[in-house]
């Protein structure tokens, strides 16, 4: 059972590219709600929301990986709530959620050094499905606590003025 589970990917789009996350990491999928901004946070940390009673930060992957630095937030924008290895709940903003795909995780292509919008150290690999390539994200690496803490404090030059829910 668990083998099948870990082979299932939730795929979604960031801009024009399709990405995937292991379904076992996903806790919830919701439409973009009212987000409370955190003062002094980086551009890609939109703020915090209430996820099942927990205060969860909202990370916009599009901004984080420079796929779209001025993204829109419509009623079609989705937040994928994931739970990291160390039990933190975090919301990831994506453009739209696509299908679930079965992937044999032992048949992944290694991520190339260039060509993907997201640096290879954040990826588990590439999965070829029919005619498309799904880039599988390493969520624990992207949301590594130390890295988040380091990067969540923005540099003085990029002050941004908070305004009511983005």
């Amino acid at each position: 059972m668990s083998i099948i589970e870990s082979n299932q990917l939730l795929t979604f789009k960031l801009g024009n590219e399709t990405y995937g996350i292991q379904i076992s990491k996903v806790r919830e999928i919701l439409t973009y709600p009212t987000v409370t901004p955190i003062p002094d946070a980086s551009r890609w940390v939109k703020g915090v929301i209430n996820l099942r009673g927990e205060v969860a930060p909202v990370i916009d992957l599009r901004v984080r990986f420079n796929i779209n630095n001025d993204p829109v937030y419509t009623n079609r924008t989705i937040i994928i709530a994931v739970k990291t290895q160390d039990a933190r709940m975090i919301g990831l903003v994506v453009d739209e959620v696509s299908d679930m795909e079965n992937a044999e995780l032992d048949r992944l292509y290694p991520a190339p050094d260039m060509g993907t919008s997201i640096a290879p150290e954040y990826l588990k690999g590439l999965f070829k499905k029919e005619d498309k390539m799904i880039v599988i994200l390493d969520i624990d690496r992207i949301l590594d606590k130390e890295e988040m803490q380091k990067l969540s404090r923005q540099s003085p030059e990029t002050t941004h003025v908070l305004s009511a829910s983005a």
């Binding site: 409370t36 003062p39 946070a41 930060p57 933190r88 988040m148 941004h160």
Partner: protein
């Protein structure tokens, strides 16, 4: 042999042993000071050591148990008048207990070698011996080591109902017993199925009240059939099963203890028989009869609870508070006035109950500062001795309560500050005399609650901090630059001691180390959500002040609005709020800083929209509102656009993902499901935004 994890039980033993050691330390310190020990104290000491011995034996800490036995024996002789208490005995006892602690540590970590233990024990015995004329007896005891004898009486078997003689021993710390021993019985019971043994409570629960009974009564009533044994206080901590091997294992411990029966005991015939089975039934029966007698008066009941259970309770209450606020919000939006008011009324009832529940649970977590203070007298005494200084320790506010979860994080920093004060603060008697001070230095520790904070002060009348030296060192280490060194105030210079890498100790002493500790002290206190400050006056002494939040989980807050954003301000921080008149606002020199002049006090103004980088509504201070807040001794006035309602909030941590966001101390779930950010006034004050 049943598979059990002895380490778990050893851990439990260790926890209880720590408490017992503290009690013993307090008693011995008093005895040392007063030079005397009354009977009741001796008895109390005896019981403590006795418990230690018994409990340790059951977790197979044989060497510790053996050493404890020696001490216990010594105390027994004091207790029954064989030896009279002399002033110097206190010191010997303190030393003995210190040795005991050391042996415990070593045995637990597996580092205790037989030879070391033997030498230690012998040396202790020799010292004890110098008080006693009965040297002969001591020698005899040692020789009898080898005899593995029948403790017949001590062996419960699976066909009897009682635990025989074991009982008495545990009466010493009744509240501790049931908890601690319960598992032990499970453990050793290999063969005999659990059900055959009477429920623990029956036999042991009954001893709850023994604390009240003096040894004398107990001796007569409970120990009736133990007359002969009682003199030697044999304690069989374990209830072993009838399995042969386990018998031997357990009796292994008592090898050293058993023989002491020999010289004096005249055991009743049946007990000296190798076959334990016969001895038992009567012992068991008698015992349960006796035991039942005491069931009537139950005394203080306390129970050890895992902190996580209480955390769970707090969480549940937190969710209740959130649900309540959601309901309240919803009712507010109702149109039908009648229903609205009916519902509101009933909701208020619920609100009251929730508050009470919350207060109850919070109080469960609160323990008196006493538990923190009690660790210090001994440490101070030892350190003062080592340094050849005379120090008087005073504490105030023992009954002030603090959240148990904080105690752990607090003890180390306090210990460090104290050690530092003893080492670098208080001068030697000679220097003090020359300075015209009394030879004995004073170290004062106090605790009080003020403004939703716990304020702890450690004050010494030593030589104070040498500001010049500290500043020079900071300059040398690059912590500050020339300009700063020149323009810093004395307070700021004093705070330099908390900078990392600073040490003005001329020699590294093992008392307070390199002084690297002070920055660790600060970070530890910060972890608890508090701050630490130091005030010093050269020649007169220093005062360390620690301010900690009272507790954590639920907060009474005020909703405030800055532009389009809302924040929450903890009520406990608020002193007052005003709509300022233009004349009350002054500008400082040519800087942008504004101050509020309130009743002859100048309070710096902080514009919240600047800190939080939000759009704001009002530009002129006189158009908005100023809320005066305080943290420790400082005040500032926060500029907001509007303030709204007050309500209770459940604090949820933010820092799992973010390093301290500026000015924000936590978050909460609002009634409408969104997250509200809680302002941290200490952070704003600290960082001087």
């Amino acid at each position: 042999m049943a598979v059990f994890d002895i380490n778990k039980y050893r851990q439990m033993f260790l926890e209880e042993a720590e408490d017992i050691f503290e009690t013993i330390d307090t008693i011995l310190l008093e005895a040392e000071e007063s030079g005397d020990m009354d009977n009741e104290t001796v008895n109390s000491l005896f019981r403590s050591v006795h418990t230690l011995k018994g409990n340790s034996a059951s977790v197979e800490l044989a060497m510790f148990a053996a050493l404890a036995h020696e001490l216990e024996f010594f105390m027994d002789r004091l207790r029954n008048g064989e030896l009279a208490f002399e002033e110097s005995m206190a010191e010997l006892l303190i030393e003995g207990v210190d040795t005991l602690k050391q042996i415990l540590e070593m045995e637990l970590s597996g580092e205790l070698e037989e030879s070391f233990f033997h030498t230690t024990k012998m040396s202790l015995l020799q010292k004890i011996e110098s008080f006693s004329e009965d040297a002969q007896e001591m020698v005899e005891l040692v020789i009898l080591e080898e005899e593995k004898d029948d403790f017949g009486l001590l062996l419960p078997t699976d066909d009897d109902k009682g635990f025989g003689p074991i009982s008495g021993e545990y009466s010493e710390k009744p509240e501790e017993m049931p908890e601690s021993m319960e598992e032990y019985f499970g453990l050793f019971d290999d063969e005999a199925p659990q059900s055959e043994l009477p429920p623990f409570e029956d036999v042991f629960g009954l001893f709850d009240d023994l604390e009240e009974i003096t040894m004398k009564e107990a001796k007569e009533e409970m120990f009736g059939f133990f007359d002969e044994l009682e003199d030697h206080s044999i304690s069989v901590a374990t209830v072993s099963s009838s399995a042969e091997e386990s018998d031997e294992d357990h009796f292994g411990f008592f090898m050293e203890i058993a023989p002491q029966l020999k010289p004096k005991a005249s055991l009743p015939e049946k007990r000296s028989e190798p076959n334990p089975k016969e001895a038992h039934p009567e012992a068991a029966v008698d015992e349960s009869k006796v035991a039942k007698k005491f069931k009537a008066d139950t005394t203080s009941n306390s129970i050890r609870v895992d902190l996580s259970k209480i955390d769970g309770l707090m969480n549940n209450i937190g969710e209740l508070v959130i649900a309540h606020s959601m309901l309240s919000q919803y009712i507010y939006t109702m149109e039908d006035q009648k229903t609205k008011s009916d519902l509101s009324e009933r909701l208020e009832l619920i609100d009251r109950h929730i508050r009470e529940l919350q207060e109850s649970v919070m109080s469960v977590r609160m323990v008196p500062m006493e538990t923190v203070f009690s660790k210090f007298p001994k440490v101070i005494r030892d350190t003062a001795k080592k340094l050849d200084k005379k120090i008087d320790f005073r504490s105030f506010g023992e009954s002030v309560e603090i959240d148990k979860a904080m105690i752990e994080g607090l003890t180390d920093p306090l210990m460090h500050i104290v050690r530092n004060g003893l080492d670098h603060g208080i001068e030697s008697p000679e220097r003090r005399r020359k300075a015209g001070k009394p030879e004995t230095g004073t170290l004062m520790m106090s605790a009080e609650q003020a403004n939703g904070q716990m304020i702890i002060k450690i004050q010494d009348d030593g030589g104070g901090i040498n500001l010049a030296k500290v500043t020079a060192k900071a300059l040398e280490n690059g912590v500050i630059d020339e300009h700063q060194a020149y323009s810093m105030s004395d307070e700021e210079k004093a705070m330099l001691i908390f900078a990392p890498g600073l040490s003005t100790a001329d020699a590294v002493t093992d008392i307070s180390g390199r002084g690297v500790g002070m920055d660790v002290v600060m970070s530890n206190i910060k972890k608890l959500g508090g701050i630490v400050k130091v005030d010093t006056e050269e020649g007169y002494g220093s005062t360390f002040t620690i301010a900690l939040p009272l507790t954590l989980a639920i907060l009474d807050g005020l909703n405030i609005r800055v532009g389009t954003e809302q924040f929450i301000l903890p009520l406990s921080a608020i002193i007052e709020s005003i709509k300022p008149e233009e004349e009350m606002i002054k500008q400082i020199g040519d800087t942008q800083s504004e101050v509020l002049m309130l009743r002859n006090e100048f309070i710096p103004v902080v514009r919240l929209h600047t800190i939080f980088n939000v759009e704001y509504e009002h530009q002129k201070l006189s158009d908005g509102l100023l809320i005066v807040v305080r943290s420790a001794a400082q005040k500032i006035a926060l500029f907001v656009d509007e303030f709204m309602n007050q309500q209770q909030f459940v604090i949820k941590p933010l820092d799992r993902n973010f390093r301290n966001a500026r000015g924000i101390g936590g978050a909460t779930v609002r009634g409408d499901g969104t997250i509200g950010l809680i302002i941290d006034t200490m952070n704003i004050l600290d960082k001087n935004y």
